[in-house]
């Protein structure tokens, strides 16, 4: 049977039992307000729930009865007739409920007879003309009448109740005795237990689990103990008991969703957006304590989706989406957790708007925001008072909400994550433990003490050794973990807990990788022991101010340990990271003059101990191939790579091709062609402010720069491309036959000029470089003519915007398209670019994008020429 229906029946049957007793007294004291209000409550509750369960007959009937009883309750005199009527109605309700229990669905039928009488009585009592009767709504009346025969039988069953009082009482008695056996099988299958009783039971079981753990620990030390077997039994029974008690606390999450369809329906009307609410996994069970805590946040998030997420129907149509928005609520179990997802197919989060608001609210500086990945910026929506809603609606946008949601979820040790696709929708994923009383935790050691880290927040464990693939690196003074090409901020647990001075532990360490919300970080610990089911005890109230601890527990060996609060830890790290960021920004401002921003460089060795570097964005892949697969043909080196022959080029003559083992390669690919650059060793990927200090005359080398404190040769990839493909230069989409399009490339950074010029040349353009806007304008003055200009936008002195404006002002150059290159692509910047007349806007490392833009813009040039 449907869970909701069963609960409804259980509850209603209970109430009816109570009211049954009262009914007898009601006949004698028709004006007893207490009895009246009890009957009113019953009828009211049934009415309220019927709408939910789609029980139109019960709903119509109780609605009519409620009106009448409501009048009495408001002081209208109670007449004998109306008492009979109410009693008859109660009886009819019982009949309907019995049917419902038998068939799990409402039988077709009609209660018009009673409803009309009730309406009439209500109208009389209220002193209004009986004409008010038709007002009583009964939407299902027409189809219901079709089943007239059914209705007649129901009426017949209910008829004794319409008789005089003594007769009714007799009928009541008879009915009760005959019903006794069949009556409410459901009602008697479940009993109500006070929540406190269950709580206490849970506490006792928790204690039992602890004691069991202690005993197991003791027996573990005495291998041949005679206690072993009975203890094993005790252990099993305890586990089952724990499970059983947990079950009594379990409720389907659907209980927390009950009100949502109604809320969505109301919101849908209020906001003028048709919205459908889909619910999946309502039967997923979780601890009622957790359920209670999650109820309000869920309601809020659904409101939020309806208000912020789903667009107006007009907009949806314009975007090619169905007019009706959908909010999908799903829940499922995963490990010891329950995952709840609230997804809408609305507009998605506006990263830019969130970033702008974050800056306006002082949550981050412009500089921080600029570098911040969108996923991280989305976290701001959980900040107190954060709302990007430009209009404050009745529903949301008042800036209360997601922060409260977050706080509630934090409180139960859960996490919330947001994912969004612009124009396609947003989904919030809430991960919460099934229960709060017992959690699975990882036991770790820091500075000689043990601590428990809730497993929920632990993503993985990483062992770092001198030459393992994962390494601890330092970016400035901050330690980071490079894990699968992702940099994770790293903290030591003892450092966070101020247990010891932290030494440089870059050689070997245990790292617990934790994720809290969108924040991922590594925690260095001294040792990792095992996972244990721990009973969470609240922290002593006088120590609750320590945000890093979420409680404490007694381990199997009897010792007390602290439980780390992942949220507290994440916040603490967030603060220090923010502090680092701030310091970095300050340094950055100092260094603004030489414009070098952080760049990812691939450091490798080839032919000499001195490291070499190449811009990581130029490298397509890093490969290690079996040296034996390298073939020589026609004086050239080749390897079969991804089903094609790929030419291989040596960085210089000193590079030794390995005869056996693994040969590292840097693979460069462009428009379907690949080449491999043979190197001796791939050293690292580093973030560095690249400043080429010594330009080089040697082919293949752009110059030298200091990378990680070491003089490093920066390699010019453009030099090697023609070595692999003789026709690489000429290969420019057939352009070479025509007079090449003349491109003026302006960038103040020699690195970019040196990087882009070969790329553009390779694509068949004639490239002239200029190091500043002034230099470019001087070229124009000298009479040099170009078909198109590619300019960096952020330059000292005259920047790209001013330069473009100047170009557009001069009639000699006004027709020439200008493409802007920038690493910052804020809407403001794009808007500014459009105003001054930029034709296109390309991100600095987007080479295919630049080529495409050039092709597009010069297509006009070709036509004009």
């Amino acid at each position: 049977m449907d869970e909701l229906l069963r609960d409804f029946l259980t509850e209603t049957n209970e109430s009816i039992d109570v009211v049954d007793v009262e009914l007898v007294r009601f006949e004698q004291e028709p004006n007893n307000a207490q009895i009246l209000s009890r009957i009113f409550r019953l009828v009211h509750t049934i009415k309220g729930t019927c709408g939910f369960l789609n029980l139109p007959r019960l709903e119509a009937l109780t609605h009519a009865a409620e009106t009448l009883i409501g009048n009495f309750r408001d002081g209208a005199p109670v007449t004998g007739e109306s008492v009979s009527l109410i009693l008859a109605t109660i009886d009819r309700i019982k009949v309907l409920l019995e049917e419902l229990e038998r068939n799990q669905a409402e039988q077709a039928g009609d209660d018009r007879d009673l409803i009309d009488q009730l309406a009439q009585a209500a109208a009389q009592v209220a002193g209004a003309p009986p004409a008010a009767a038709p007002k009583v709504e009964e939407p299902k009346a027409a189809p219901a009448r079709a089943a007239a025969a059914e209705a007649a039988s129901v009426a017949a069953e209910a008829s004794p109740a319409n008789d005089s009082k003594p007769a009714r009482a007799k009928a009541e008695g008879a009915a009760r005795s005959s019903e006794e056996g069949a009556e409410s099988r459901v009602a008697h299958q479940s009993i109500r237990v006070h929540v406190d009783t269950l709580e206490q039971l849970m506490t006792m079981v928790s204690e039992l689990v602890l004691t069991r753990n202690q005993l197991l620990e003791i027996v573990r030390r005495h291998e041949d103990s005679e206690f072993k077997a009975p203890l094993q039994r005790l252990s099993n029974v305890t586990a089952e008991l724990q499970e059983g008690v947990m079950k009594t606390r379990m409720q389907p999450i659907g209980n927390a969703w009950q009100k949502l369809p109604r809320i969505v329906r109301d919101l849908s009307n209020e906001l003028g957006k048709p919205i459908e609410l889909e619910m999946h996994g309502a039967e997923t069970e979780l601890d009622r304590q957790v359920l209670d805590l999650i109820k309000d946040p869920l309601t809020h998030m659904v409101r939020n989706s309806a208000d912020h997420g789903i667009e107006e129907p007009g907009r949806r149509q314009a975007a090619g989406k169905p007019e009706k928005g959908t909010i999908r609520l799903s829940a499922w179990h995963e490990g010891g957790h329950i995952i709840i997802e609230i997804a809408d197919d609305g507009r998605g989060l506006d990263a830019q708007k969130i970033k702008t608001t974050a800056v306006a609210r002082g949550l981050a500086t412009e500089a921080e925001i600029e570098k911040m990945p969108d996923a991280q910026a989305f976290k701001f929506i959980f900040s107190p008072g954060f709302s990007t809603a430009s209009q404050i609606t009745n529903v949301s946008g008042r800036g209360v909400g997601l922060d409260v949601v977050r706080a509630n979820i934090d409180e139960i040790g859960g996490t919330i994550d947001v994912k969004t696709v612009p124009g396609r929708g947003t989904s919030f994923t809430i991960k919460i433990p099934l229960t709060l009383a017992i959690v699975s935790a990882l036991i770790v050691e820091a500075a000689g003490d043990r601590f428990a880290i809730p497993q929920l927040a632990v993503v993985e464990l990483v062992r770092v050794r001198a030459n393992s693939e994962h390494r601890i690196e330092r970016i400035k003074d901050a330690a980071v973990l490079r894990l699968r090409n992702k940099l994770l901020p790293l903290v030591t647990l003892k450092g966070m807990l101020k247990l010891a001075e932290v030494q440089d532990e870059t050689v070997s360490a245990f790292i617990v990788v934790m994720q809290v919300g969108n924040q991922t970080f590594g925690v260095v610990v001294d040792a990792v022991f095992h996972t244990e089911e721990i009973v969470v005890k609240p922290m002593c109230s006088r120590l609750r101010n320590i945000a890093l601890f979420g409680g404490n527990t007694i381990l199997g060996d009897g010792s007390v340990i602290m439980i780390i609060d992942p949220n507290g830890l994440a916040n603490a790290i967030g603060n220090t990271a923010a502090a680092q960021q701030a310091a970095e920004n300050a340094r950055e401002i100092e260094q603004r003059t030489d414009d070098a921003s952080m760049e990812s460089l691939l450091v490798f060795r080839a032919g000499s101990p001195q490291p070499k570097a190449v811009h990581l964005s130029l490298v397509t892949r890093l490969e290690e191939i079996d040296a034996k697969t390298i073939e020589g043909a026609d004086g050239r080196l080749m390897v079969q790579y991804r089903g094609q022959l790929m030419p291989l080029v040596l960085v210089n003559e000193d590079v030794r091709i390995k005869e056996k083992g693994v040969q590292p390669l840097l693979v460069f690919a462009d428009e379907g062609r690949s080449m491999g650059l043979i190197v001796d060793e791939i050293v690292d990927i580093v973030e560095e402010r690249l400043r080429i200090e010594l330009a080089s005359q040697r082919p293949g080398v752009l110059g030298s720069a200091i990378v990680k404190g070491q003089a490093t040769e920066v390699v010019d990839i453009a030099h090697y491309l023609p070595l692999a493909f003789e026709d690489w230069m000429a290969w420019g989409g057939g352009r070479s036959e025509r007079a090449p399009v003349r491109v003026l490339l302006i960038d103040d950074a020699p690195f970019f000029r040196n990087m882009l010029a070969p790329v553009l040349k390779a694509a068949g353009y004639a490239v002239t470089s200029a190091a500043s806007a002034k230099e470019a304008l001087a070229l124009f003055e000298d009479g040099a003519r170009f078909d198109i200009v590619v300019t960096d936008l952020d330059m000292p002195g005259m920047d790209g915007f001013d330069f473009t404006a100047a170009v557009k002002k001069d009639p000699r150059t006004a027709a020439m398209p200008v493409i802007g290159l920038s690493s910052l692509a804020s809407p403001e910047a794009i808007e500014r670019g459009r105003k001054v007349g930029l034709h296109d806007y390309v991100a600095k490392f987007d080479r295919p994008g630049l080529i495409a833009a050039l092709k597009e813009q010069t297509a006009d040039v070709d036509c004009a020429a």
Binding site: K498, L499, C540, R542, I546, I554, G558, S559, V560, M562
Partner: protein
């Protein structure tokens, strides 16, 4: 009956040579504190947590609470178990004394010359033969946060 109306029993303890008393009604037990787990980031007065027969007890170092020098390392100490707002605390003391019965009327308010560190946690004093018994006010003893932050 009449005796209890006029007298009160105290569990006595010495901390740094000073005699203290705690009304026996508020004392849960007296125990030997073992296997203390320190609480990082907590005020130094919080000596740690311990497991007392399945209960987690927060231990407060009374020497530090009174602004005295820390106890010598390795010196055996005792703890008086008390309860406050449903939570268990253990007050670490140098030594526990006998239980004495004193007349209620003998409780005086803090003398003006009482050491400020004592006055801070005192609920009054009893004058004994050549000795002063400071009655500990448990709430004030446990009100550690405020002072820790100031320190």
């Amino acid at each position: 009956m009449s005796t209890t109306e006029h007298t009160i029993e105290y569990v006595t303890a010495t901390i740094g040579g000073q005699l203290f008393g705690l009304p026996i009604s508020g004392v849960q037990d007296v125990f030997l504190p073992e296997r203390l787990t320190r609480v990082p980031l907590a005020a130094p007065e919080f000596a740690g947590m311990l497991n007392l027969r399945g209960r987690i007890v927060t231990a407060v170092d009374m020497r530090l609470r009174l602004g005295l020098a820390p106890a010598e390392v390795g010196k055996a100490r005792m703890a008086i178990g008390i309860e406050s707002k449903g939570e268990s605390y253990g007050l670490l003391i140098d030594a526990v004394g006998e239980v004495i019965r004193l007349p209620v009327g003998g409780l005086e308010s803090n003398p003006v010359n009482l050491d400020a560190r004592l006055a801070r946690v005192s609920a009054g004093v009893h004058r004994l033969d050549g000795n002063l018994l400071v009655v500990l006010d448990v709430d004030r003893v446990l009100d550690i946060g405020a002072h820790a932050e100031a320190a």
